[in-house]
């Protein structure tokens, strides 16, 4: 909670800073993503494994391709974040769809999904550690206000990666817990849909 409040305040400060600092932050962003790269590649490979485990071969190949490009340096800055988001939210959406349609995993799929889920878990931890380390490294230097501002910018970027990956990992957990009996596929309603039911 304190952490969140701190960064909210920092984010407000960052918005007041000069374009010069914004440019400096772009440079720092690349450094930040460089620090994260190993964990990001690991997380994307785990996502690809999960796609493969649940029988979605095309997405598995595409995600592996993106992980390779990222590893070789062919995917930079914002592109790498977008690719990462697409892979993770796409995996979550695929699992949501399976749940909703009652496509319960077969015993073999379940076994593969459990193994792939373990990789997602460890990649999630690695990503969290790398994000924290990346922020510390990227904010090194500058005055106190700039440090706070940069930390806020990187926290924003970090959330763009850790949130979808966390969502995919949670969906994967739910999928490996699906059983043949009595599943409804129901989920909590999104914020976008809530107003339609506000009169109930």
């Amino acid at each position: 909670m304190v952490f969140k409040m701190f960064f909210k305040a920092a984010l407000a400060c960052a918005m007041l800073l000069t374009p010069a600092l914004a440019r400096a932050n772009e440079v720092a962003t690349v450094a930040f993503l460089g620090a994260l790269k190993v964990a990001q590649v690991q997380a994307m490979r785990a996502t690809a494994d999960y796609y493969a485990a649940i029988g979605v071969g095309v997405e598995a190949q595409q995600t592996t391709g993106l992980a390779n490009r990222l590893e070789r340096g062919g995917l930079g800055g914002e592109d790498s974040i977008q690719a990462f988001q697409s892979a993770a939210y796409g995996l979550k959406a695929r699992i949501d769809d399976y749940r909703a349609r009652g496509k319960i995993p077969t015993a073999q799929q379940l076994e593969l999904a459990r193994k792939a889920k373990a990789k997602l878990d460890s990649a999630d931890v690695a990503l969290g550690v790398a994000v924290a380390a990346g922020i510390v490294a990227a904010v090194d230097g500058g005055n106190f206000l700039e440090k706070i501002a940069k930390a806020a910018v990187f926290t924003g970027i970090a959330l763009k990666m850790t949130q979808p990956f966390g969502a995919a990992r949670d969906a994967a957990r739910q999928y490996t817990e699906l059983r043949l009996s009595g599943e409804t596929g129901f989920q909590d309603v999104s914020k976008g849909l809530q107003p339609a039911f506000s009169d109930l």
Binding site: T63, A93, D96, D97, R101, L200
Partner: protein
């Protein structure tokens, strides 16, 4: 006939109530049951299948939790109490869908078998306790399910006792059910009904007609009974008494008709159920659906849409203290709003009534847990927008009143 059963484990000289095990039975009379429920009816006529099922079920009797010593039929001389597992209905619902990835059509089939554990007095034909349950099994097939597929699925449900199988899961839950045979707090689930306003609204929108509304009510009631039995661990007085065709909604009365050949011959017998001490009534005050489209980035950069389809209901939940003169006095009356959604990639055609039935059942399950735990957060989250009175909306107040009612007065244990 049941001499093969490993009854030694159950029949220990503990001073517990002695009970005769009467194997499996059917709700109503066999001929009528088999006509309405062809698959389980056919299995039931097969003596070898019946014997195998009885043997499997014997292992699931909650003898320890209910303080009973169980003896096979024919060996229980002098024991007036008997126990049988009564199959109440079967149902297979199927929905087809096109997978957005491979563009093939799949069929999702949901199988259900109603399953009552009935403890009764052999001489007086009085039902002492009844614990309804529903075995459920979902499966997806690439082709349309055939008659043979359905037969296999029902047979697997009634044969497989593995821990992941519906029968195995039921055994696990019922064996742990801490029911007291002398409990005076008997419950009855009144038929789930629509409020007049809801009925008019839903019919004008063509969401339901009279027949589908009656079917919804009957199935929602059966599901609620099974949930109440497992959550409250109290003897249940059935709402559907099985007097004619199994599965038809009878008038709530204290009669129960079943065929239990192991102990009572091939003809249907009429039992008297105890009068309930308390009743639960769920009234559906509204049902509605809505959808929302979430844009989604894709790996190929083209983008797609995730369709979220929401189903919501406003439900009135009442607890009544039963009295023979007036039927019942409402002692707790709350209204809740409850919404859940399904998320799909691509388009899908859903059978809305099935989703509403699932929604009602999931709501009741959460409601019963909230009753047992007096969960303030759940009350706050689901309090209906229709309730405007500040005091009635106060979660702490509701939780306190529920503690007095469910925990202190009715002796319902907190949910695990």
């Amino acid at each position: 006939m049941l001499a093969f059963l490993p009854h030694a484990a159950n029949a220990q000289a503990t001073g517990n109530t002695k009970v005769t095990y009467c194997g499996i039975g059917l709700q109503g009379a066999l001929a009528e049951y088999a006509m309405a429920n062809p698959y389980s009816g056919q299995f039931y006529r097969n003596q070898a299948f019946r014997t195998a099922l009885s043997k499997a079920l014997f292992a699931g009797i909650p003898a320890a939790a209910w303080a009973m010593d169980i003896q096979p039929a024919g060996e229980g001389k002098g024991t007036a109490l008997a126990l049988s597992h009564v199959i109440t209905y079967e149902k297979a619902d199927q929905q087809s869908f096109v997978d957005p990835v491979d563009q093939r059509t799949y069929y999702n089939t949901s199988y259900a078998v109603g399953f009552n554990t009935v403890l009764f007095d052999l001489d007086s034909k009085q039902v002492r306790a009844l614990v309804p349950a529903i075995l459920r099994y979902n499966t997806t097939t690439a082709g349309k399910p055939t008659d043979a597929t359905r037969q296999q699925a029902f047979e697997a449900m009634l044969r497989n006792t593995g821990a992941d199988a519906p029968l195995g899961q039921w055994m696990t839950s019922i064996r742990a059910l801490p029911m007291r045979l002398d409990d005076k707090v008997t419950f009855q689930v009144l038929p789930v009904s629509f409020s007049e306003a809801a009925q008019q609204r839903l019919m004008s929108q063509n969401a339901f007609d009279a027949k589908s509304a009656a079917d919804f009510s009957r199935r929602a009631t059966i599901l609620t009974e099974a949930l109440v039995a497992l959550q409250f661990a109290k003897p249940l007085v059935p709402a559907d008494t099985g007097s004619a065709v199994a599965g038809q909604q009878g008038e709530p009365a204290n009669q129960y008709v079943a065929t239990i050949p192991e102990c009572l011959g091939e003809s249907a017998a009429t039992f008297t159920a105890p009068l309930p001490a308390y009743q639960l009534r769920v009234i559906v005050d509204d049902l509605k659906s809505a959808d929302f489209k979430h844009p989604l980035q894709t790996l190929d950069g083209n983008g797609t849409t995730q369709n979220e389809i929401g189903f919501g209901g406003r439900f009135k939940a009442q607890i009544l203290a039963f009295d023979t003169a007036g039927g019942g006095t409402v002692i707790d009356d709350r209204t809740f709003g409850y919404v859940k959604s399904l998320r799909f990639l691509g388009q899908v055609n859903l059978e809305q009534k099935e989703e509403y039935l699932k929604l009602t059942s999931v709501f009741v399950k959460e409601l019963l847990t909230a009753y047992s735990n007096q969960d303030k957060n759940w009350i706050k989250e689901h309090m209906s927008a229709a309730i405007v009175d500040k005091k009635e909306r106060n979660p702490s107040q509701v939780a306190k009143q529920w503690k007095d009612l469910f925990s202190k007065r009715l002796g319902i244990a907190a949910a695990k």
